[in-house]
Symmetry: C2
Subunit: 586 residues, 2 copies
């Protein structure tokens, strides 16, 4: 690959002298290395291809890092990284993993925040602007936010405040007419109207909020972009630049199938085949199939997603059940209150989230749902210890959800139990129920489980033993089972093995019975220990003659650390657990 122009660019100021044609060549070169890199490593594909020209234009016009650009979600910041000293991470395959998938102040002075959740950029930019004003500075503050991100409430809170600030702040709305999936909401009719009128309609969401407004018809045209950005540079008041870009621009498949190419697993550019084949069915597919079967027979079933139908198994469901499917956009707060409202009238809502994103709706879980005690079912995917980016950890849903009164939080250990819990969660009418979907390959016993969990907080004793009792929660039940077997082999101790099933409460009767012939209770949970499940067991036994060991993650943010390393760090291997058990029994 010959990178005639990019070779000359090590920092944004190197752009300033380039002629118009060189800038276009630069865009082509960047697009080429982006396609090669992201197809190799996986990552955000469409969002980055769409933003190549706009990022070049931003850095051409503004003076980063004096002028400060904040990227919403920052999943479109790869060109920014390339232009701000990190191009080798995109050119040299050996360096592909030397940068994260999001902006990171640790990587560059051109990055101001570690960002990975949606709708935060305008608020953060308001902070930068206020800090500037307190110091009497005059640099430009720019937030780049996609149309999809505008569905989140925080984006609106930010816009509402930014508009009233009366000072320089430039909101670049990157409108590619797509969220992760298609957009939903009244705002999108207005964005379409603005696109169709070349920004001229007086009916204008941004003007209504008080912004000065500029429209760029072709947001992949560098000259247009430079012209408008130059016009708003050093503005003394809040401005929105609304630009229409093409998501996935420059790669035929991603232009044509925007949702599939929002984020990709590694794939072969020649054959278009994925580099890693997925193995067997997933718990999300099991849920999708189960919900489809239910919905065919029962028109009161409604599946709700906050812009992530794919990861939560609703890929097919949404096409088959138009009236029984709601994608609210990236609006988790609305999703929970909506579900509560539906459930209050006898509807059967099933609202599905990724663990990291259900964090965005704690107050609604507590107020709209739990206080009202409405029987909605909430599904929580991807909860657990992972090697993910720091912004997408699944560690915190247990403390978040299980400590809210009234919500029954369940942890299935296999497919049959999972289906039974969904069935019960949907059909019972007394509690808000949440299910923590095991974040692992599907385990099937072939033995049907009765969909009856009416006796709250009753744990299941799977193996009756003595001396040691192992309580393995959800996906870590299987780890508990292996520890039980290896402990027996290595020490002769026949430990009791318990599947607690309920995350949100303890089985006092069973725990009391254990006092008779056990000395040690071991808890295993796939999440942060602080505020979690095991600590409740420790509290219960606090004044009793029982030792307790809690295993789970420490309270820390980890960033793309391998599972192997994390499991060793947290003593979550069979060997380390058994070693700790032996120490505790001494």
């Amino acid at each position: 690959m010959i990178l005639n122009v990019l070779n000359k660019i090590d920092e944004p100021k190197d752009l300033k002298g380039l002629c118009s044609n060189d800038l276009k060549v630069l865009a082509d070169e960047i697009r080429e290395i982006l396609i090669k890199k992201v197809s190799t490593t996986g990552g955000h594909f469409g969002p980055n291809l769409g933003m190549v020209e706009a990022t070049i234009a931003l850095h051409y016009v503004f003076n980063s890092p004096i002028d400060k650009i904040v990227y919403d979600v920052s999943h479109q910041s790869y060109t920014h990284k390339i232009l701000t000293g990190r191009k080798n991470a995109f050119i040299n395959p050996d360096k592909y993993n030397s940068v994260t998938g999001y902006t990171s102040p640790q990587e560059s002075e051109h990055d101001f925040f570690t960002i990975g959740h949606t709708s935060t950029s305008v608020s953060l930019a308001c902070g930068l602007a206020k800090a500037r004003d307190l110091k009497g500075g005059n640099e430009n503050i720019i937030a780049v936010i996609g149309d999809g991100s505008l569905s989140g409430g925080q984006a609106y809170e930010g816009l509402n405040n930014a508009a009233a600030s009366g000072k320089n702040i430039i909101i670049v709305v990157n409108d590619n007419d797509m969220s992760i999936a298609e957009n939903h909401g009244g705002l999108y009719q207005n964005l379409a109207l603005l696109r169709n009128t070349n920004g001229k309609s007086e009916n204008n969401f941004f003007k209504a909020l008080g912004f000065d407004y500029h429209y760029i018809k072709d947001g992949n045209n560098i000259e247009s972009l430079i012209k408008t950005f130059s016009k708003v540079k050093d503005t003394n008041h809040p401005v929105v630049v609304h630009m229409h870009t093409i998501k996935g621009k420059g790669y035929k498949d991603s232009e044509e199938n925007k949702e599939a190419f929002h984020w990709v697993m590694p794939f072969d550019l020649e054959t278009k085949e994925p580099r890693f084949k997925s193995t067997g069915e997933s718990y999300s597919e099991v849920a999708g199939e189960f919900l489809s079967q239910k919905a065919r027979k029962d028109s009161s079933i409604v599946a709700i997603t906050a812009a992530t139908p794919g990861p939560v198994g609703l890929g097919s469901f949404r096409h088959e059940f138009k009236d029984q499917f709601i994608d609210v956009g990236i609006a988790e707060e609305h999703a929970i209150a909506l579900a509560s409202g539906i459930a209050s009238q006898g509807g059967k809502p099933v609202a599905s989230f990724v663990s990291s994103f259900i964090q965005r709706t704690y107050d609604q879980l507590s107020q709209d749902l739990a206080i009202n005690n409405n029987p909605a079912l909430i599904m929580v995917y991807w909860g657990g210890i992972t090697d993910s980016d720091v912004t997408h950890l699944g560690l915190f849903d247990i403390p978040l959800i299980s400590n809210i009164p009234n919500i029954v939080y369940l942890a299935p250990t296999n497919k049959e139990e999972y289906i039974a819990m969904m069935e019960w969660g949907i059909e019972q009418d007394r509690h808000p129920v949440a299910i923590r979907v095991p974040n692992m390959e599907v385990v099937s016993t072939g033995v049907k489980v009765e969909p009856n969990f009416d006796n709250l907080n009753t744990y299941e004793k799977v193996k009756e033993g003595s001396e040691v009792a192992i309580i393995g929660l959800g996906s870590f039940y299987h780890l508990g089972n292996r520890v039980q077997e290896m402990l027996k082999e290595s020490t002769g101790i026949n430990a009791t093995l318990i599947n607690p099933r309920f995350i949100s409460g303890i089985d006092e009767k069973l725990l009391t019975e254990l006092l008779d012939n056990h000395r040690l209770v071991v808890t295993l949970e796939d999440g942060i220990l602080d505020g979690g499940f095991g600590e409740k067991i420790s509290r219960f036994y606090g004044d009793k003659d029982m030792k307790v060991l809690n295993f789970g993650a420490s309270k820390e943010f980890t960033d793309s650390v391998s599972l192997k390393e994390l499991y060793e760090r947290y003593h979550l291997t069979e060997e380390l657990i058994i070693s700790d058990i032996k120490d505790a029994l001494k």
Copy 2:
């Protein structure tokens, strides 16, 4: 008081036959009993006086409970309660406490949700509408939302989705040009424009979102209201009715001082004097005074509130420091991200919240603030066990905040420690810091405390003893001290007394030292036990020879239960704690 018309009204249908004049008399009668009742008991004053006519008109036009009205925050629902079978609770002083201050499905079939937090009504109404559509119903679904509540992100998420539903949903925007305090944000310029143009401006936030739009110039004129509500009744598409009302209407003082009369303590209607005198200074006043002193010398100090300047001690601050004060409206998410942004550039933001409302911004605390590790200071007021309405409990901030990595959550026990913690929190630059303001009268030792908490998670041993160690967190330190004294008196045990200072971590060194000559550790915390402080101590001692007793609130929602009853229920009296200690030592 002669209630000629109200005497005839026991349910909404009794309104239907009334002539226009009777409806006006009814409004006067309701206003009279509202003023008498709320001045006697305290409660939401201005919001209810402003909504008298509109509520009468809603019930005149629509058929509750078939047609369903959802009130945002529901702090303006008193007239609704009066018209739906609960008038005696407003007429008869003996019955004043027989209804809650918010809507409650337990009270009436005309109430659909227990509501007390802001900005949720549109989302909940969307749920009612969807449930209706699934059943093939055709009733009207109405959300009543104040202009202040429109600053919250969830309200926007709801509006964005409601607008796109294509079905009957009626959003009544009660625009009294006030939040709790004055409004802030670009939206309010648009509302003003709409008021000034009699709803005719094409620049219209609601139309931009896709709503059909109707304006009512005088929202306290029953005839106008009835006319417009009748027009939109049975609409087949989403509608906004924007009405201009006068907050506090009909009582001179509340019309003139809208903020002070938003929510009132009991006061004498004749003398205008409060019925209960406040005693001495409060921790919020101490903070306000401290921050003012700091801000006078340091222009990088910024105080941030989400629409509650009064309760968080910023009543004077906001008038003295225009540029160093930001009220973001009821937009807690924005407030936290804003603070993080300011702190990232060396500004010194102090963002203050009420415990129950900081729940609304968990994800921003985690993502925008903690992951970015920016040194903002967060103040948390009203955290603790209270006799409040179920929607305003202060029980959950410890599990919510203390389990987020990187945030240092501090619990001062007296004024001097409180000031030292604020000073340190503002001046240090390594951690996000939160302070849990003691929810009690100010305790002053007169002894200055060094503002240095750099050694994280170091507890303070205040009394050195043996056998029993009492760890009293924050406001419950004083309870711990009394227990220590009474225990000594009654048993001779000289317990160790510890002020942990840090909520968010444990002092392993000190806890390990206690193993030498203690048998029992007692933790006391003013909040829910589940996921809280004490459980971390229990976990630490799980595999060691130490008994632990955790005292705090059980996991339950309580609704206006007296402190006395709650303390007894949770064994939080000196006597009950000592009795439990004796049992544990047996």
